[in-house]
């Protein structure tokens, strides 16, 4: 909670940070209430009340603000539902990634020696694995669901976070308070989690932001490639449906909105991460 307050205060220092903060908060709120305020269900087919015919591929109208799909689904409603999966998958993955990354980085950086070598070799191996292809193979093995998508992404994304945290741990280890904790006879675990961990919180939070951004883009890519959760609607799967229907270029109202939603949310997250990084790492300020 203390960290959250610090974060909020820090990002409020710049205008870009403030605006981004409110955009992200708005998206989180929409993730909760989006499905309630959506006029239709994500897979609900809409019929013309007069002719009782399915409204296929309609351009934006008064009733259907962003038009409909070839299957007669309301795109505005789908877009609203999409907030939920972007936020849920994004945050779950980001926290998973940072939790693994922080622990690997802490242990590897603090222990040094053979433990460090083994863990860093492992990280190198994961860095050699191709990102999206790996996720797709995993999904082909496990089947497609929101949970498996989160797991597959976490499994490959922790590698960068681990490296960043380890580098930070190595420099913190040199500082006097760690040596002091050692001489007063603190155990390794207590030093790692009581003394060092609080000091890497800022960099961990920066990583949460960047992982969140990456996770949202990646989830969209997975959806676009046709590996999204078939039972949930996401911005990536909306674009996939448009792409697969071969009508995407005839119906820009179908593909443009989800892309803009991703772009706005992700860039807000980037700006947020950068605004926070700027505060916790003054070297970036230039002077």
């Amino acid at each position: 909670m203390k960290w959250l307050m610090h974060f909020v205060r820090a990002v409020h220092e710049s205008r870009a940070g403030r605006i981004s903060f409110y955009i992200v908060v708005a998206c989180i709120v929409l993730a909760f209430i989006g499905p309630w305020i959506a006029p239709y269900g994500p897979f609900e087919r809409v019929y013309d009340p007069v002719t009782e015919r399915l409204i296929r591929l309609s351009p934006p109208t008064r009733d259907h603000w962003l038009g409909t799909t070839t299957l007669g689904r309301d795109i505005f409603s789908q877009l609203l539902w999409g907030f939920r999966s972007a936020i849920v998958v994004g945050f779950a993955t980001a926290f998973g990634v940072v939790a693994i990354g922080v622990n690997v980085g802490l242990i590897s950086g603090y222990m040094g020696g053979r433990v460090d070598t083994v863990m860093m070799r492992l990280t190198d191996i994961f860095l050699g694995l191709p990102f999206l292809p790996f996720i797709i193979v995993i999904l082909a093995i496990t089947g497609r669901s929101t949970t498996t998508i989160i797991i597959a992404m976490t499994l490959i994304m922790w590698r960068s976070a681990a490296r960043v945290v380890r580098a930070q741990v190595l420099s913190i280890k040199q500082q006097s308070f760690v040596a002091a904790a050692r001489t007063t006879g603190g155990g390794d675990l207590s030093i790692i989690y009581r003394e060092i961990a609080p000091n890497i919180m800022p960099i961990a939070l920066v990583n949460v932001a960047f992982s969140l951004a990456w996770a949202i883009i990646t989830e969209a890519s997975i959806g676009f490639l046709g590996y999204g959760d078939a039972k949930a609607i996401s911005w990536g799967t909306i674009i996939h449906d448009a792409y697969a229907s071969q009508m995407m270029y005839q119906a820009p109202w179908w593909v443009v909105p989800p892309g803009i939603a991703i772009m706005v949310l992700v860039s807000a997250v980037y700006f947020l991460g950068r605004a926070y990084e700027h505060v916790v790492n003054p070297r970036l300020a230039g002077q």
């Binding site: 050699g128 999206l132 193979v137 082909a140 676009f224 593909v255 772009m263 949310l265 230039g286």
Partner: protein, 323 residues
């Protein structure tokens, strides 16, 4: 230096070996009979039996693993279920197609990104900097496939400047040879995916170079260069940018890996027959030998890229300790 290269080579081999082992188990975890990876149920029973022997699938796991290693080392990936041609035969052109798209555009992205990032850092606080930061962040935040679709929508369909996809106009070339790769038709097809990919890839080095510059311009040696009465241009390029380049250069292997892995997306949008599209099609058709081969090659290219970038870094920074 020699020892450094030797050590990096060793690391590379270990990484490669571990990656291959992960793949071995990963592909045996794919749903269905483990023999599915190499044998299609659509084959005649006799042919299936023959292949089982060829790939040692009747032997214990360790033996299978040895055969698997031997096959990979000799680039023998078996036969595609879909086209029943040998996978290695299919691969050749695919690798070239991916590299033709990804490599030049990565080089251009890093070159332009470093140049403009340097200017952004130098003119910090200017409108030029603010606009580019916003643009780059927005572009980086948008999924590349969506940018590709938007580009097709605007430049191919509305303006009609470029074809919507594919390597060349269908039927124009019989063989994928040098004559095709040098043809105007090929370049015309390459242009749009190339521009989209470059525009997308430029964001990362651009923003990184900018922030690297911001910390470099505060260094004493920049002020000292000014005290020496050097011209601003020289201070900007030879001193500030040259030093800021180092942290940007370290990211080349990582980004190259992402770009190669990301080829699955950009190639899908532009129907560009490279490794990425090959892999996606393979997964869709449960053509596992093809998937495995494409996965393997993307990983190998990534690891080789890392290795090359490590060596490059040694050239860029004289302070690097080869230990």
């Amino acid at each position: 230096m020699k020892e450094y290269i030797f050590r990096r080579t060793l690391h590379m081999i270990i990484t490669l070996f571990a990656m291959v082992t992960i793949m071995f188990f990963l592909f045996r975890l794919l749903p269905g009979d483990p023999t599915m990876t190499v044998i299609s149920s659509a084959m005649y029973p006799k042919a299936q039996e023959a292949m089982r022997v060829q790939f040692g699938l009747d032997k214990p796991l360790l033996h299978q693993y040895m055969i698997y290693l031997k096959n990979l080392a000799t680039f023998d990936f078996g036969f595609s279920f879909h086209s029943s041609r040998s996978v290695s035969e299919l691969l050749g052109g695919r690798i070239v197609n991916t590299l033709v798209l990804v490599l030049p555009s990565m080089i251009l992205a890093y070159g332009l990104g470093a140049l403009f990032g340097a200017l952004m850092g130098w003119y910090r606080g200017s409108a030029f900097e603010a606009v580019l930061v916003l643009l780059a962040t927005l572009l980086q935040a948008a999924p590349v496939f969506w940018i590709g679709m938007m580009a097709i929508l605007v430049f191919s369909l509305n303006l009609g400047w470029f074809p919507t996809g594919h390597l060349v106009t269908p039927g124009m070339f019989i063989d994928q040879d040098l004559r095709m790769y040098l043809s105007a038709d090929f370049l015309h097809h390459l242009a749009l995916p190339f521009i989209v990919h470059t525009a997308y890839q430029i964001c990362f080095p651009l923003l990184l170079m900018r922030s690297s510059m911001l910390s470099t311009v505060g260094e004493d040696f920049i002020e000292f260069a000014r005290i020496k009465g050097l011209r601003e241009r020289r201070i900007l390029f030879r001193h500030a940018a040259r030093n800021s380049l180092l942290p940007v250069a370290t990211t080349i292997p990582m980004i190259l890996g992402w770009a190669l892995a990301g080829s699955v997306v950009i190639e899908t949008v532009f129907s560009w027959p490279g490794l990425g599209l090959m892999m996606i099609e393979g997964v869709q058709r449960s053509d596992f030998p093809v998937v495995q081969a494409a996965f393997f090659l993307i990983a190998v290219l990534t690891i080789l890229g890392t290795f090359a970038a490590d060596l490059l870094y040694g050239v860029l920074d004289p302070r690097i300790v080869y230990d």
